[in-house]
Each structure stands twice: as C-alpha cells, then as structure tokens.
C-alpha cells in the first residue's frame, strides 16, 4: 500500500477513536433531554468539574488514579442531582428559552467559579500513556483506552435502558409523562435518577478527557458546543441518533483534518452540520 493510504487509514481509525469518545459525551446530554426535556447547556462544564476532581485527588492528594476517577464519577453524578434539584426543577414548567438561559447561566457560573477556585493555569495530570504502533501507523494509547471505556460505558447504559425496569421507565417517561404514576412510577424520582446518570456519564467523560487534555476553567467551551451539535444532528433526545452523528462528526474532523489541515477538519464538520440542518432539521433519527 502507498504511504498516503496508510496515513489516510490512520486518520480514519483515529476518527473512529474520537467518535467513541464524542458518542459517550453526547449520550449523557441526550439522556437528560430525552427524559426531562431540558438541555443542560452547562454539560461540558460538569465535565470540567470532573476533570478538576481527578486532577486534585490524584495530583494534590495522591489518590491512586483509578480511585480518583471513580470518585470523580460519583462527584459529578451528585453535581447532576444538585443541578436538577436546585436549578432545573424550579423551571420545569417554564418556557424552553428560559430553561436554556438558566442552564446557560450555570455554564458561566461554573466557569467563573472554577477560575476563582483553581486559577486560569492549564493543569496536567502528568500521566503519559505510550503510543501504540501498528505497522506504520501510530495511535495514542490514551485514545484507545478512552474509546474502549466509552464503548463499555455506552454498552452498559444500553443494557440498563433496555433490560431493567428503571431503564424502561426512563424511556417510557419521555413518551407519556402524565400517566407514569399509573405504572407506579414517580416522575420526580426518575428525573433525579436520570440527572445522576447524566452526571455520571459526564464524570466518565471527564476521566477519559483528562488523560488526553490539560484542564482549565474554559475547557468546556472546546467540546461543549460540539457535543451539543452532535446531539442536535442525531436528533435531540435520540441516543442512537447521537451515536451515529458522533462517528460521522469525528470522521469529518479527523479525515478532513488529515486531507487539508487540522483546523479544516472543524470547518468542514460544522459546514456539514449547517447543511444537515437544512436537509434534515429534526436530526438523523429525530422525530417531529
């Protein structure tokens, strides 16, 4: 094979790895929207909090990395519940635009609070995973780990949603909230559960991102918008749609970046997003 093809293949495979991570990030946001009908605009800032949690527990308090990561998942899950109880619940009956604005407010609040608490420095876990060579191609082990964990997380979520009573209730509530009490389900409790799960997914995403990127108060801005656009492109609330969209988006970024220039990947991906909004405004698997 020509060298050119090998590197194209490498770009495609890297896109696949990135796609798995983006799919995990979009899953939590889609879950929340599907169940509660509210978009957590501040979702990536929850991830930022999780990244700081891993950093501080591991680097400052010398916890073993895996323990720090497990704690971060729990911490962000609790943050999700707090966000729901104190910010979302009071505006559940409000206009969608107000719900959007209030979670947007939380975005900037968390960013400002993180700046205050942690400063603007970029912080690094100091863990470097080797890169793995496969013939002439090389892949970062961190990405490979992120991909595998993300897939495992999504598989776990899929099994939970499709097999368990609570998971079925989570899917049912988005289809008919009003009759849930007739099934013996308290919608308020399902909302709390979904918020905890959404938070836990954000926490898991944080663990995977902190292996690859430095954390700083504004890091949410570098993948929050992408996560949101992926959800919209897949069809807001459609977890399967988000999954597909994440891989499509990642290929644009990775292959586009390889064929032209790194920044071009993003330009192409967002142009594709805009085109999709004309062609299929409800998203790939969206209803309405």
């Amino acid at each position: 094979m020509e060298v050119f093809d090998i590197f194209l293949l490498e770009a495609i495979l890297n896109g696949l790895l990135l796609g798995g991570l983006l799919a995990l990030l979009s899953l939590g946001l889609n879950l929340i929207f599907g169940v509660i009908d509210v978009v957590w605009i501040c979702y990536a800032e929850l991830i930022m909090c999780g990244m700081y949690a891993v950093y501080y527990l591991h680097v400052q308090y010398h916890w073993p990395l895996l323990a720090a990561m497990a704690a971060a998942v729990v911490i962000v899950a609790v943050l999700g519940v707090i966000l729901h109880q104190f910010v979302i619940r009071p505006v559940l009956g409000a206009e969608p635009i107000n719900q959007l604005l209030v979670t947007g407010g939380v975005l900037f609040f968390l960013q400002a609070a993180a700046t205050l608490a942690f400063g603007i420095e970029f912080r690094n876990l100091g863990v470097t995973l080797p890169s793995i060579r496969l013939g002439e191609m090389s892949f970062s082990a961190a990405r490979l780990v992120a991909f595998c964990v993300a897939l495992a997380g999504m598989l776990g979520m899929y099994l939970f949603l499709s097999r368990s009573y609570l998971g079925t209730a989570i899917r049912a509530i988005s289809q008919d909230r009003a009759i849930m009490p007739l099934m013996g389900v308290s919608p308020a409790r399902i909302f709390v559960l979904a918020s905890a799960l959404g938070g836990a997914l954000a926490g898991l995403g944080a663990c995977l991102l902190v292996l690859q990127y430095d954390v700083h108060p504004a890091i949410g801005l570098s993948f929050g918008p992408i996560t949101f656009l992926i959800c919209v492109m897949g069809g807001l609330g459609s977890m399967a749609g988000g999954f597909i969209a994440a891989f499509v988006f990642a290929q644009f970024i990775s292959v586009g970046g390889f064929l032209f220039h790194l920044e071009w990947g993003y330009v192409l991906a967002f142009a594709f997003f805009i085109a999709m909004m004309f062609w299929r405004p409800q998203g790939i698997l969206g209803r309405r």
């Binding site: 079925t168 049912a172 009490p181 099934m183």
Partner: protein, 236 residues
C-alpha cells in the same frame, strides 16, 4: 366486603369544579358502570380515584383504608389499576415493554413471569406481536395491550375508561366479551362507558353521572327500565 368507596368527593381543574359531592361504592367482585354524556366528569372520577388529580374534599377509601395520604405512584400498589382514556400506551416501546411497565411496582416484579403468561393467555395476539412497537398495533390490539398492562400489576380493582371508544363495531363486541371474561376471573371492575346498551349487559350495577353529579344509581335492570335512560341515552 367493600372494595372502593367515594364519599361526597369534589374535584376539578384549576378554577373549574368537575365533580360535586360524588358518592360511589363498589363491592368486592362486582362490576359497576359509570355512564353519562360527554364532559359529565367520568374520566375525572377515575382520575381522582387513582390520584392523578387530587380531591378538593370528600373521602376515598380502598378496602377500608383512606387514600388521602397515598401518593399517586403508590395507588397501584394498593391494588388499583387504571386503564386510561385513549389507552395511552407508550408508542415506541414494544408490546412486551409496555407490559413490563405495568409490572413496575416492586411486589409486581416478583410475579412478572407468571402474569406475563396469564396476559398472553388472555390475549394471544399480544404474544404474537410482543416485539413490535405498541404504536403499530391496531386499535383493538392497543386496547388489549392497555388492559394487559394494567393486569400486570396484579390489581384487585380495575378502572376502565371507555375501552370501546374509537373501535370498529366488531372489535367493540370483542372488547365487551373480554371485559365480561375479566369480571368472571374475579376482578372487581369499575368501567366508564358511552356505549350504554352494551355495558349494561356486562355490569350488575350502574351510576348515571351528569354535569359532575350522580343523578341515578341502581342495578342494570333498573337502568334499562328507567324512562329517563331509555329516552335520553338509548333513544327508545
């Protein structure tokens, strides 16, 4: 033994009263109908029993115990299953997932397997379509699925809100046969219907609800013989 009793229950929607001092009693093992014109408050009556809306005054008792302090999502654990107006299946869940939702209460989960078998025995059509999204079923099948979902909780009292509404005449017949079979199984049934002639053949007693008030109560024979019912509701 008394299964359900409502004593002078008032209820409504913000600023609008739909039920005025309604008293209804259902004995264990009985099938009772509530009939009345559109907008009389029949659906509201069932909603207030399953606590989807609160009563503003009056008392509701299930097997002698007041439901006043029972939250809506625990009513089903007291033995009351409500098949709502227009069936209200979860359209994108499969038939079997809809049935699983009916078995959500903890006590019902333990007996999921045996009740699923019972429901599929009652409705073989549902078993054939178990993996299909409920939204793709025909109207009659959807009604069966809605009733099956309610039976999955193992209720003592079944509340049925116009199960024959919107169905083709042949299917209506099938649904009433089914209600008769369910009554014969020993379930206590409180059924709301507009199809008065048919429902009076199935139940032993009935109430006439008009404009939120009970106008008439009696056994089916008395209803069929009543001048008022014959003129206004049976067109005789």
């Amino acid at each position: 033994m008394q299964m359900l009793s409502l004593t002078k229950v008032c209820a409504g929607y913000s600023g609008f009263q739909a039920l005025f001092e309604v008293s209804v009693e259902v004995e264990a093992g009985e099938a009772v109908a509530v009939i009345g014109p559109n907008g009389a408050g029949k659906t509201t009556l069932l909603r207030v029993i399953s606590k989807l809306i609160g009563a503003t005054s009056g008392e509701i008792r299930m097997e002698g115990a007041s439901l006043a302090r029972v939250p809506a999502h625990e009513v089903v654990s007291r033995g009351i299953a409500h098949v709502p107006e227009n069936r209200r299946l979860f359209p994108r869940l499969t038939v079997e997932e809809n049935l699983r939702m009916g078995a959500f209460p903890r006590a019902a989960r333990k007996r999921y397997g045996e009740r699923l078998e019972f429901v599929y025995g009652l409705f073989p059509r549902l078993e054939e379509r178990r993996g299909q999204p409920a939204g793709t079923l025909s109207g009659g099948e959807q009604q069966m699925c809605a009733i099956g979902r309610a039976l999955m909780s193992g209720p003592k009292l079944l509340l049925l809100d116009e199960p024959s509404a919107g169905l083709a005449p042949v299917v209506v017949q099938a649904i009433f046969d089914l209600v008769r079979r369910i009554c014969a199984q020993g379930y206590t049934v409180l059924i709301v219907e507009q199809n008065i002639r048919q429902v009076l053949k199935v139940v032993g007693r009935a109430y006439l609800l008009e404009a939120g008030r009970i106008r008439l109560a009696g056994n089916s024979r008395e209803f069929l013989d009543s001048q008022e019912i014959r003129k206004t509701y049976l067109g005789l």
